[in-house]
Each structure stands twice: as C-alpha cells, then as structure tokens.
C-alpha cells in the first residue's frame, strides 16, 4: 500500500537525515518502526505526510509510493485527501477548541459532511471518556485524554493509512496499554492500515504484524515481531534483556559492553 524506495531527506539544504530509507506497509497490517532518538523516524513519517516543507526539509532522492502513485511532491492537504493521516508526536490538539470542534477539524477533508455527526459518536465509542468531556476546552484535558483526542481526530478523516508518532509519549503504563489496545481495535474494526513509530519496543512488537528497526537514517533490521524479539541485538538494545532473557543487571553492562552488530 505504502512503499518508500531509497528515500533521502535533507533539512536546510545541508543536513542529511534519511539516507536511503526503504520500507513497505502492506494493506490492513500494523507495521512498527522502531529506533533510538534522532534515527529519523519522525522525519520518515513527515516525508510521507508532506509535513517536511514547513520545517525546511525536502525529499531529494528516491520515491514514496501510495497505492502505486508518487506522493512525495504533493502538499499535505492533498495527501490527507488521498487517505494518509499522521497523528503527530506530542498530541498537538487544538488547545482553544473544545473536544467536538477538534474532531470537526479532523473531518475537514471529508466530502460526505452529513455523516460527520455520526462519526463523532463513533469516536466516542472508542473513547467514552471524550464523550463526557465533549464541550471541554482541549487544552485542559489530561495527557492521556489529549492523545485519545488526537487519535479520534485522525479517525474522523477516515484514513486508509494512519501514521502514529509515539502515541505512548509521556503517558502512564496503564494508559499506554489502553491506547495500544484501541489502536489494535481500529486496525481490526475499521480496517485501517497502521504505521506505528515507537520508543516502547516491547509494546510495539506485541501489536505489530511486521517491524523495522531504524538507525542513522536507514533501516538496519526488519522482520516479523517474533523473529526480532529473539534477535540478540534487539533484546539487548531495545528490550533491555540479556542472553538468557532475564533483566539485565548493571554489573553485566560494566563487564562487557555489547556492540551493535549491524553497525559494522
């Protein structure tokens, strides 16, 4: 459905952030994109959704195909209409709008306006807590509620592909679990394809059908979650486990510092 082939992204004409990034998201699946800070995960999502321009970024090489059509030269509003919706990192709700107005803003590109009312109720079924707060100013919601609103806003656009940038950011573990369950439900019930960027590798690998690991602007490893979970490097650097599967103790780290095998 979505394919990136050898994509290169440069910021401000000089900073090379993506260096030949390739990845594929098949229809109806949940694909996870993991990697440490600064690896280029958010840049990858922005390259797809057309949000690089306001940050002075540019796709300089390679191509991004969505349903067989090149989209990397189109602007954001066209890409949203095409069916790709990015839930940005850090929630980014419209603070001075109330919950319902935020959802209406999410439905901006819809052409079937008469269904919007019904879809708002649909979002409230996923997130009953938002229903109680429908008239409240979004800026005063809790972090978890704001993340729910951000995802609900994406649902309002009825996208074919939803890209979530670190939905677990700054949330309590229980809430994170709840949000991930809902992501899974959206994938199953709405048939929405999902591209998930996460720091929380364990949770992401639990829900994903396929996962990519990114470092330094390119993919270094990819595979089924089960395969990745048993990879020694992934266990060490993303799951914090040692060879036998027990939690690591600081003594081992001091004793022998493992190198990332894929870097050499």
């Amino acid at each position: 459905m979505l394919a990136l082939n050898n994509v290169e992204v440069i910021y401000n004409d000089v900073i090379l952030v993506l260096k030949g990034m390739s990845l594929e998201v098949p229809q109806g699946k949940i694909v996870a994109l993991l990697g440490s800070n600064g690896a280029g995960k958010s840049t990858t999502l922005k390259a797809v959704s057309g949000l690089l321009k306001p940050e002075d970024g540019e796709v300089t090489d390679g191509e991004i195909l969505f349903e067989g059509e090149k989209i990397h030269e189109q602007d954001a509003s066209h890409i949203v209409r095409r069916g790709i919706f990015q839930v940005m990192e850090g929630r980014r709700v419209f603070e001075h709008l109330d919950v319902e107005q935020n959802l209406i803003a999410g439905s901006y590109t819809r052409t079937d306006r008469q269904n919007v009312r019904g879809d708002i109720e649909g979002v409230f079924e996923y997130f009953p807590r938002l229903k109680e707060r429908r008239r409240q100013t979004a800026g005063y919601l809790s972090g978890g509620e704001q993340q729910m609103l951000a995802i609900g806003r994406a649902l309002m656009a009825k996208p074919k592909l939803m890209m979530l940038d670190e939905p677990s950011l700054g949330l309590a573990p229980l809430l994170v679990q709840e949000i991930f369950n809902i992501i899974k439900r959206i994938n199953e019930e709405e048939g929405t394809t999902i591209l998930l960027v996460e720091q929380n590798a364990r949770l992401a690998l639990d829900v994903a059908d396929y996962a990519y690991i990114m470092e330094n602007g390119r993919i270094v490893l990819d595979g089924e979650p089960e395969t990745l979970k048993s990879n020694a490097d992934v266990r060490e650097f993303y799951l914090g486990l040692n060879e036998v599967g027990a939690r690591k103790s600081y003594r081992d780290v001091k004793h022998y510092k493992r190198r990332k095998r894929w870097l050499s």
Partner: protein, 290 residues
C-alpha cells in the same frame, strides 16, 4: 437627562463602527497571530472606492456598495498573496512590521489617485433624523448600528459552528497540526484577510458617510487599538463589547468634560488594561498545562 441619552446613542453608534473595524483585527489575529497595522487604511481604501464608484463612475449606491465589497475582497487576497504569503514561517514581528509598511503604501496609493483634500461623501443613506425618547439620531448612524450587529452575529456563528470557521481557529492554535488535518493554511489566511478587508471597507463607507472622505478615515484604525486590547485581541465578543465601551467612554468624556480629552481617555484605558489584564476582557489566556 436628554443630554445623557443623546451621548449614549452617539457613543453606541461610534462603538458599533469601532466594533466592525476591531472585527477585522480580531479575524487576522485569530487566524495568523498577526496584528494588522494597515486595518485603518483598508477603511480608507473602502471609503474612496465607494466615493469613486458613486461620484466618478456614476453607479447607483446599491451597486457601488457591491462593487466596493468585491474590490475589497480582491484587495485582501492580493495583500495576502503578495505580501503575507512569502512571509509564512518568518517571525511574527517581521510580518507586523510589513503591515506598517503596507499601511503607508495604501495611503500613498489613495492620495496619488484622489489627492489629499477632503471631500464630502455623496449621501446615500437618507439624511433624516430619527428621534428616540427625546434624543435625536441621524438615520445613517442607526444603520451603522444595525449593520454592525448583523455582521458581528454572523461572524460569531461562523467561528463556532462552520467547518471553515473551526479550521481558521485551528490554524491559529497550531499551524503545523492544522496542516496535518489537511487544512490549507494558505486558504485560511486568504479567507481571513478578505473578510477583514470587507468589514473594514464597509466600516470605511459608514465612517465616510458621517465625516466625509479624507485621510482622517484611516485614523479610526488607530482609535480601534484600545478597543481590541480592551476586548482581547482574539475575541469576537470582546471586539463588540470593547467597541461599545470605548465608544461610550469617548462621547461621555467629550460631552461632560471637554472635547480634547475624549481622544486621550481610550489610551489611558489601554494602558490600565495592559497592566491589569494583558489578555483583555475576553482574550484567550495561553493554556499552560503543568
């Protein structure tokens, strides 16, 4: 008592016109965080276009108003396209500076076409007086109140319920997030500037109808600053209430204390408001989650 009623009515009409002009400020500020220093000159341009349409082209006044509104929309779009759009993403302060330059430019264009001497405005609103409870009020002022009220109600509804209105407020809140919704920020800015230009042009016509066409019309732009600061830069109800308060304040001080002071009092209010309530009476307070 008669004097009080008379002053109140005059103050209300002035307030209604202030509110119309303030509305333009608020619209642009709400959508793009820019304070438009050229708002007063939009009034001037509107007034002169109307003047030109009626006395020089010879259109009947209903068509002239329509033509003025269309040209005002065009002016708003041109300004947005040529002046503001290249500045998207630049610091707000540079955009504000550019609006000051725009103000001089518009004023210069108007005076190079029509000269600088003031002229009487062709009276298009029947110039008769209507008396309300002992006070006498000219019909044109009454029309100003009604028109201002209708426009202000329409805009309030637009921002609360319509998709475009919500998109405009969303853009004001977080431009990049608005982009990610598929909202076209360029379109939102174009819309804001053209609505602001139309309301300003209509206000300009109303003002010119009362005081005649001359450079003085643009001065209303400056007198509206205390209004928007008092009401809150981003609040439509604030623009209305601020307009009425400042309008009344001006006529009361003019009527009871003396003419010269009436222009000063609003600015005293401005300074007091900035000290006590920097967001204005109804302005949006920056939300900070702790």
């Amino acid at each position: 008592m008669d004097k009080f009623l008379q002053l109140t009515l005059t103050g209300l009409t002035n307030g209604a016109i202030f509110a119309l002009v303030a509305l333009g400020f608020v619209l642009i500020y709400k959508a793009s965080d820019v304070i438009n220093f050229a708002q007063g000159d939009f009034l001037l341009v509107g007034a002169y276009i109307m003047f030109g349409m009626v006395t020089q082209v010879g259109l009947p006044w209903s068509l002239a108003v329509l033509a003025t509104m269309i040209l005002a929309v065009a002016l708003g779009l041109v300004v947005e396209r040529l002046v503001l759009r290249p500045l998207i993403g630049e610091p707000i302060i540079s955009v504000i500076m550019v609006t000051i330059g725009l103000s001089s430019l518009l004023r210069a264009i108007v005076s190079s076409i029509w000269g600088t001497t003031g002229r009487p405005f062709p009276p298009f609103i029947p110039n008769q007086n209507i008396s309300i409870g002992g006070a006498v009020i000219p019909a044109d002022r009454l029309i100003a109140i009604v028109l201002a009220a209708i426009l202000l109600i329409l805009f309030s509804l637009f921002f609360r319920y319509s998709r475009e209105g919500i998109a405009m407020r969303a853009t004001a809140d977080d431009q990049q997030a608005a982009l990610s919704m598929g909202i076209s920020v360029k379109r939102v800015f174009g819309l804001a500037w053209s609505i602001a230009a139309v309301t300003a042009a209509l206000a300009g016509v109303l003002v010119a109808n009362i005081i005649g066409v001359s450079g003085v019309v643009a001065g209303i732009g400056l007198r509206v600053f205390p209004v928007v600061i008092l009401g809150g830069l981003d609040s439509i109800p604030g623009a209305i209430i601020g307009g009425v308060i400042i309008g009344l304040l001006e006529t009361y001080t003019g009527g009871y204390i003396g003419g010269g002071l009436s222009q000063v009092v609003p600015f005293i209010v401005l300074i007091l408001i900035l000290m006590v309530k920097p967001y204005g009476l109804f302005g949006e307070v920056r939300i900070e989650r702790v």
